[in-house]
Symmetry: C2
Subunit: 351 residues, 2 copies
DNA sequence: TTGTAAGCGTTATCAG
DNA sequence: CTGATAACGCTTACAA
């Protein structure tokens, strides 16, 4: 306990074998006699040796078994989003057979001193960037410079970087078409933030939307309802949807008969706003969501929504990483959302 | 691109300095002439060298800059809990000045093959175990054997392991006392799961409660209301609270005038169940929560609850890790919850 | 301020 | 099946 920790050579010496043999006993990469194995293992436990030092092993092997996951938000914020959480789940599942773990990283944390573990100083085998917009590009450059494989989820990082994306536009158009088929003419759109740091408010024609997901889903809705009023929330939360819903449903004379929300949480908030205003869903207002997550506490409503394969996205990212680590190059993947009709949409009341 | 990556020696040679000088330019640990620094930096960019290889550096230094966070649940499940999320936030903040990042780990994943990155194979400087009950003890042994510093949050790992805990019992008693002071006599308790894998149901006297948090909070409530009926939910979700609330409030003749819920999410569900049953909160039923998180979508209710310093817990864990890494030994810390009166508790209706 | 030298603890390779 | 050898790429006393 007091002296330095035992190394594999100590164990080898104690067991009367060579270091390489001892190493092989632990890695299992080459057959070893049972007797030898036992001697080595006994020596190890006698010396309190618990296995090869991962640091040395990773230097030698050139692999650390660590995949970085880079977020552009505060970690707490990222995990507030059920879709990201599911995605992490899929990702963790997919890198696990690789023997890899996930290291949480922020793109560039302005509040922290430069000492923080980062893309540049962490022993990463690969990196997954989540939602590549804005300064995440800097992270991208850092990683590319290091020459480690990168995959981008829900973002565009240039042609040479595999990306995992959704058919946001087409999917959202499907929901809009569904509403039109039901006969809705006055429809409002409630979007996710238009850009980083966005404050909730109407999205006028000229406003630039820099967040890819928001822009694409919006485009899909506008294909069907080109003149729909558009309100952009400040984030994907029920309370944001509630606040926005109050605005959208405020004026009885201009009230939309349906609201297309860009996330299930926003949709849930709109439903609450409708209830609050004495409107019934779907009789008085139809509401569609996006994501297909389980919104805790929303029962008995079942959202009409686009179900995105969030966990599959994560898994795909993990598999892409695995492929690149093997030297093959990974293709970008575009996932398709599935339209699911719930009980929050119906034909509008006859005027 | 085709040949092997440049090393710091290559850079040094190119710059006409020694490897140690080049190293120092990157680490900044020793003063270097501006001219020298420039030469080295130029050589580096000429060779496409992006900085020291973290794997080699960590072997040499004996530090990897990685702190493992060990959960006993699926990652997706863990992050569904806002308290854990906040805790992670605090933790990540506290280890950041250390230059460390957080590696997500599961205790022992039965579904994965043995290859997964784990306590035993990941290059960890330290580990934080979350909620040490059940098999998390195995993880504990693994880490202790490796001789790396460990901290346990919300769990008991024996006297030699620093732990970060809450005054669960006292805090819960405070909420119960508040209800008694208001005049409540028929009070029901809605707890978190009694053990891993628990199905929602009544908790009878003899039932063993193996989850520390559940047991302690329950004990606090029972100090004030020893005869209260106790129902244990299957998890901390609004929908669980809703289901449990339906049971608790079902029978008008035995209906409690107040429900003590062990989490804010459960409390939110009970409130929904009350609304559903045509009862008003707090006029007909009082409800208390625990955690003090923001429950998305609960407005206009403000829970009467115990606010736990979730982020501070994470920070404390991080600081404990930092201390141990410096050689000093970290003390266990017991945090105190703050009672916060909202608008979900009031005196019971006169019978 | 810069250079020299000696590892850090493993594991891949190849020969026996 | 086992052993000798040679790196992996860097950091840090210590000396100059």
């Amino acid at each position: 306990m007091s002296t330095r920790r035992a190394t594999i050579s100590d164990v080898a010496r104690e067991a009367g074998v060579s270091p390489s043999t001892a190493s092989v006993v632990f890695s299992g990469k080459t057959p070893v006699t049972d007797a030898t194995r036992r001697r080595v293992l006994d020596a190890a436990s006698a010396l309190g040796y618990t296995g090869p030092d991962p640091r040395a092993a990773s230097l030698r092997r050139g692999r650390s078994g660590i995949v970085g996951v880079v977020f552009e938000e505060h970690l707490g914020t990222a995990f507030l989003d059920p879709v990201k959480t599911l995605m992490m789940d899929g990702l963790s599942e997919a890198v696990s057979p690789l023997g890899a773990g996930l290291l949480l990283l922020r793109d560039h944390d302005p509040t922290e001193s430069g000492t923080a573990a980062s893309l540049t100083t962490a022993p990463l085998d690969a990196a997954v960037l989540i939602g590549c917009s804005g300064h995440l590009r800097e992270s991208l450059d850092a990683v590319k410079a290091r020459g480690i494989p990168v995959v981008v989820v829900e973002g565009d990082a240039g042609d040479d970087i595999p990306r995992i994306v959704l058919d946001n536009r087409e999917a959202q158009r499907q929901a809009a078409s569904h509403l039109r088929a039901l006969g809705h003419r006055r429809v409002a759109v409630l979007t996710l933030p238009a850009r980083a740091g966005w404050q909730a408010g109407w999205l006028l024609d000229g406003t630039a939307v820099t967040i890819d997901v928001t822009r694409e889903r919006l485009a899909g809705a506008l294909e069907v309802y080109p003149d729909a009023p558009v309100y952009a929330a400040a984030g994907s939360f029920i309370d944001e949807g509630l606040a926005a819903g109050r605005v959208l449903l405020a004026d009885p004379s201009h009230r939309p008969t349906a609201v297309i929300a860009q996330s299930d949480l926003l949709a849930a908030g709109v439903i609450r706003a409708a209830e609050e205003a004495g409107l019934r869903v779907p009789e008085d207002v139809s509401v569609t969501g996006f994501d297909g997550i389980v919104v805790d506490g929303l029962a008995p409503y079942e959202l009409t929504t686009l179900v995105q394969p969030a966990a599959a996205k994560g898994r795909a990212a993990g598999q892409a990483v695995a492929a690149m680590l093997e030297g093959s190059d990974a293709a970008s993947i575009r996932f398709t959302c599935e339209f699911r009709e719930g009980n929050t949409t119906a034909a509008p009341r006859p005027a």
